[in-house]
Symmetry: C2
Subunit: 366 residues, 2 copies
């Protein structure tokens, strides 16, 4: 059965009213606000059908209607209007991005904080999983017992570490080692750096002091860290703003799930699930994690340069302001991409052309 235009209007009205008030929506208030010239009784008939179709439900017989996940899904896919951010909002976001943005590592936490502040929901930011390799080694001789490892990565970031040794370092050896590493270890991923390779380098450098393994260990650690996507969550406490979490039990469960680095997306699929410039919405039971079955997640991806993508997302009750949050995240992601990504800058006003993708492709007419 196809859903009529009026039903759509009514459904949208219910969803929006419910998002606003968190109270079941009655026929009367719809008749007043939705602006379609008909009486509460008519609305009631339509509502009853929407319940039958699975878009709405009643908490109990004499209550108003509440959207089901399916109702939200319909709303997000077809009914929701793209929300435009006000000039002040876009300026605010840009200002804060410019203020903070130097290196992704430092900002991943700032980004999640910003997203949380903007939306008033808990927010998370994920760095992209990429395959970073070493591009260049420098070893700086400081004194007889000390040298500095400087490691430039394919992602064009630089990592460094001060190494103290109990033994005296030979300055020639340090230089020899740097050349050997530049020759043999650049372009390798962490798991291509085998003990065998290290060992043969050690011999080639005539290294009896274990310098080679120190440098190699730092390299492996750095690469592993750079390739491990890290998540940062902030603003968990904002859940408490939402009436659905007035029960501390419930709030605590979700908050500790989030704080504990609880994964939002099926691991390994993070970036692949959201393509660039698009915002994905996971509603209630569409989430994989048991703890999120009553909540919704909105995720945008950003281009972190180097052909990798990261994610920013927001978690809230299913009764979430999808439109506003999607718009904000989309703009934020675009701003991040512009600043981090090497690639083409998103066009001005890009946040208006926001593409929202549902979870289940069957459900939205393509």
């Amino acid at each position: 059965m196809e859903i009529s235009a009026r039903k759509k209007k009514i459904l949208a009205a219910v969803v929006e009213e419910y998002i606003r008030t968190a109270e079941p929506v009655g026929s009367k208030s719809i008749a007043q606000t939705a602006g379609l010239g008909c009486s509460p009784a008519t609305i009631r008939n339509e509502l009853a059908e929407l319940v039958n179709m699975g878009y709405l439900e009643q908490p109990h017989t004499s209550a108003g209607r509440v959207p089901t996940p399916m109702g939200y899904r319909m709303y997000v896919n077809e009914l929701m209007e793209q929300q435009k951010l006000s000039l002040e909002e876009t300026e605010e976001i840009n200002r804060r991005l410019n203020q903070k943005l130097q290196q992704l590592d430092d900002t991943i936490s700032d980004v999640s904080r910003l997203a949380s502040q903007l939306t008033d929901y808990p927010a998370l930011a994920l760095t992209a999983q990429s395959s970073v390799t070493a591009k260049r080694f420098d070893l700086i001789y400081v004194d007889a017992n000390t040298f500095i490892i400087v490691l430039m990565l394919s992602s064009n970031s630089v990592k460094s570490k001060l190494v103290h040794l109990p033994l005296s370092v030979d300055q020639n050896m340090v230089q020899r080692l740097a050349s050997l590493f530049n020759a043999g270890f650049t372009g390798l991923t962490a798991d291509q750096i085998t003990p065998l390779l290290i060992h043969s380098t050690e011999r080639a450098a005539d290294d009896t002091m274990g310098l080679t393994s120190v440098v190699a260990a730092f390299l492996i650690e750095t690469l592993t860290e750079a390739n491990t996507p890290t998540a940062f969550i902030s603003g968990e406490n904002r859940l408490l703003n939402q009436p659905e979490f007035k029960d501390p039990e419930k709030a605590h469960k979700l908050m500790s799930y989030l704080s504990g680095g609880g994964y939002i997306l099926p691991s390994g699929q993070e970036e692949s699930m959201v393509s660039a410039g698009e915002v994905r919405v996971l509603i209630g039971p569409e989430n994989v994690a048991e703890e999120l079955k009553d909540s919704s997640v909105i995720i945008a991806s950003y281009d972190a340069g180097d052909n990798t993508r990261g994610l920013i997302g927001v978690v809230g009750p299913t009764r979430m302001d999808y439109s506003a949050v999607a718009a904000k995240l989309s703009f934020l992601a675009a701003g991040l991409s512009k600043r981090l990504g090497g690639g083409e800058a998103p066009p001005e006003g890009m946040h208006n052309k926001l593409i929202i993708k549902g979870d289940d492709p069957n459900e939205h007419g393509g």
Copy 2:
């Protein structure tokens, strides 16, 4: 009026029972548990006097007794038994410290997370405010448009940054600049680096491309960052475990205060308030921040090396397990000091000799 030995015993029993159950404590339960051979009626008389003296209060006429902040203070200063950590606990802490500890920057968040997990309260970690200066500069020429700044600080950490320039870099210039910076900028604090100094260096290096100011900017930024104490708070959500925060309003207020980097100690006095090896307890109204007047804070300081100290602290309701938390924090701080500080390692079993200092020196007999 001096407080009798029996009153002390009774007060301690009330505090401990209340900490355990979060329910007002009646005379009967004390008579049973406290093991002083007297009847509830006797206890009642004593309790009434303890109320008069200000150590206890009654929520209402027919309820049991609850400690006042003054009662907690007395308990912390004089009555509380030093809690020893079990072998498993100390081993667990040591294990996790060893696992994580490489550089303070990376671990400040880990430390606060660890403290929070151990105590099941929100925890914060503060880096020490110190006066870090530059110790050594290296500039690595990468290609015509790129070089790397490597900056070694007096704290013996190393910071580095990749710099891209629109103009071609002259390799000689890069080296000249490094020498000039090593000669003129080491040992200076951020505010000693004046535009004048930068300008004269620029001329001395014959730098027409603005390299000098790029390096100087990085230096200033790094020093400023290193000297700014950063706080990290985690586990805010654990507040929800406590029955006193079953009201989401209340919980949210405190949590957002904490998340917002709310300051626990009067700013500027952070380290000076807690001396090494000692644990400080701030009970309820002893706190300066309005938001903390109903809560208690337990703080330990650790030696971060380089004559600087940092803090780890825990926030909870006044009904807090002072003894256990103090023991854990103390051990944690000692462990951190041992690993970070240059100084003498704390003696084995140091957590047994824990010194607890109250807020107000007048209140505990010296």
